[in-house]
């Protein structure tokens, strides 16, 4: 029935790689509890340790730093909870710095912590979504416990100078976390080079399974579990090992390590084709985010006088899947807080469309979008109050 199915929502989640699907299917036979000493348990434990090493290679970290979690949301919550606890226990470093454009799993956690009286400063960003480094320097001080800045933004793709920020933060003795969820597999990510103490990621953003991710924690960085219980993950995260998904994450990590350079090139090419094509065919268009420091596959565009949800649904009718603002906000009436934080006009912040490319997209996909999108925008603009 559907003739086209063009998935341009890869920043929300990706389709699993066929090798990952096969590996997960196989690993579903490794049913033993990886904490058990018997054969079934040991087989599962071995498979898990192999994945730990694969992930460590991908992000240039030590295998022992990796704590598998149910995803990046849990990983981000865990980091903030570590410092919430330390502050609650009376640590003199009692301030946290983050930014205005983090993922909801940080934004909402910060809201919650502030309600409880925690001191959190949100560093502003410039009009392209880049962290305002002057503001950051002014915010830093020896009362800062944690600085958390995402690596690549899920909505605009803007890449932050996390290495630089880390240096500054370490100078005042603060620990640094980066949410690298969107960057993994798209750009090179070296935890050692970035110098960060904590890093979050989620497998389903790089063709792995959903419901599995990791918090990567340097050995000397403070830690406290969010999920207390059994001794899994060295006592850092309780819960029976999710063997099959961890295996899937490991295979996805191996593929990402192998393919990242070529993927990066390909994604950027498709993204640029679409950007140039849209600007050629549609007038009055605003491309959001920083166009220099940008994740290769992300293109976020505002179409004044055309409402985001309507564009999304008309595109969907044509078999083109995109998202408005951040996927998490879908179904809500909120304008994109990421764009608002970058000083984008509220009307533009309401009507942004995110095209996010993945490994299965082709130039034909771009051509198809460039055929279908202009009449949709035209139609909506004609319908629109002027």
């Amino acid at each position: 029935m559907e003739q086209h199915s063009i998935y341009l929502d890869n920043n929300a989640t990706t389709a699993m790689h066929e090798d990952v699907i096969a590996a997960v299917h196989q690993a579903n036979m490794l049913y033993g509890n990886a904490s058990s000493m018997h054969m079934a348990g040991r087989q599962a434990a071995l498979a898990i340790e192999e994945s730990r090493e694969a992930l460590a290679s991908l992000i240039d970290a030590e295998p022992s730093w990796i704590v598998f979690t149910s995803g990046a949301s849990e990983a981000n919550n865990t980091v903030f909870n570590i410092f919430k606890e330390r502050i609650d226990l009376g640590s003199k470093r009692n301030r946290i710095i983050t930014t205005t454009i983090e993922h909801p799993s940080i934004i909402e956690t910060v809201k919650y912590m502030k309600q409880l009286g925690c001191k959190v400063d949100e560093c502003p960003v410039d009009s392209t979504g880049l962290v305002d480094m002057e503001a950051m320097k002014n915010l830093l001080g020896d009362d800062v416990a944690l600085v958390s800045v995402m690596l690549g933004n899920n909505e605009t793709g803007t890449i932050q100078p996390v290495g630089e920020i880390t240096e500054l933060a370490h100078q005042v003795g603060a620990y640094v976390h980066t949410d690298a969820t969107q960057a993994i597999g798209k750009i090179p990510v070296s935890m050692k080079e970035l110098g960060v103490d904590y890093l979050s990621l989620s497998a389903h953003k790089f063709y792995g399974p959903k419901g599995i991710g990791a918090l990567v924690v340097k050995t000397k960085a403070p830690y406290a579990p969010l999920v207390h219980g059994g001794h899994q993950e060295g006592g850092k995260r309780a819960g029976t090992y999710n063997t099959a998904s961890i295996v899937g994450l490991g295979v996805a990590a191996k593929i990402a390590l192998r393919d990242q350079p070529s993927e990066c090139e390909k994604l950027w090419k498709l993204r640029e084709m679409l950007r140039v094509g849209i600007l050629e065919r549609i007038s009055n268009v605003v491309v959001n985010g920083n166009q220099e420091h940008c994740l290769p596959g992300t293109l976020d565009v505002s179409f004044p006088h055309a409402e985001g949800e309507s564009i999304l649904l008309y595109l969907d009718m044509e078999g083109i899947m995109v998202s408005t603002g951040s996927a998490c906000a879908s179904g809500s009436l909120e304008p994109s807080y990421v764009l608002l934080a970058s000083g984008v006009d509220i009307e533009l912040a309401h009507g942004s469309i995110r095209f996010s490319f993945g490994r299965y997209n082709t130039e034909e996909d771009v051509a198809y979008v460039l055929e279908k999108l202009p009449p949709i925008i035209k139609r909506l603009r004609e319908m629109s109050t002027r």
Binding site: M37, M39, R42, Q43, L46
Partner: protein, 160 residues
């Protein structure tokens, strides 16, 4: 999963000694021990007994019994092979590290298991010397023999 035997929790040597422990006291065996050492307690989850026969100040023969885990069984079995024929002096200075090395290693949290057999051996030598009414030239060098399952640290093990 073709090679699952290599995936056993412990090393192949540990496995061999666990499956075929050497020098255990058989059920109806009469063993006239010259010295007996007991360490640990059932309540701790590990208990060890080492019996020695001494000839010309050498360990002439040795038997042991344990209520303990696989690591305790394997390390005591290994210890028993290493101790046979040693002089009392040499035997007294067998260390858990030497036993562990001979086993090809033990997981960190199982290190203390190798201490048990070793301590029981020293206790047996102490017992022998005491029964002989001889002065004990070794004892002052080491901590007293008690069950320390839960408090033995790597540092202490290094010290021993």
């Amino acid at each position: 999963m073709t090679n699952f035997m290599s995936q056993w929790v412990y090393t192949p040597v540990v496995k061999d000694h666990f499956m075929n422990p050497r020098n255990t006291l058989k059920e109806n065996e009469q063993f006239e021990a010259d010295g007996i050492g007991d360490v640990g307690s059932l309540a701790c989850g590990d208990q060890m007994q080492v019996m020695i026969k001494v000839k010309d100040d050498k360990i002439a023969d040795l038997r042991w019994l344990t209520y303990g885990c696989a690591s305790a069984i394997a390390s005591t079995s290994m210890m028993s092979e290493m101790a046979l024929g040693l002089t009392l002096d040499e035997a007294y200075h067998l260390t858990p590290a030497m036993i562990t090395e001979a086993l090809g290693g033990l997981p960190e949290h199982k290190f203390h298991c190798s201490v048990l057999g070793d301590k029981a051996l020293r206790a047996a030598i102490d017992d022998y010397l005491e029964k002989q009414g001889r002065e004990n030239p070794f004892k002052k060098h080491v901590a007293k023999v008690i069950c320390e399952c839960k408090s033995v640290t790597d540092v202490q093990i290094e010290d021993l």
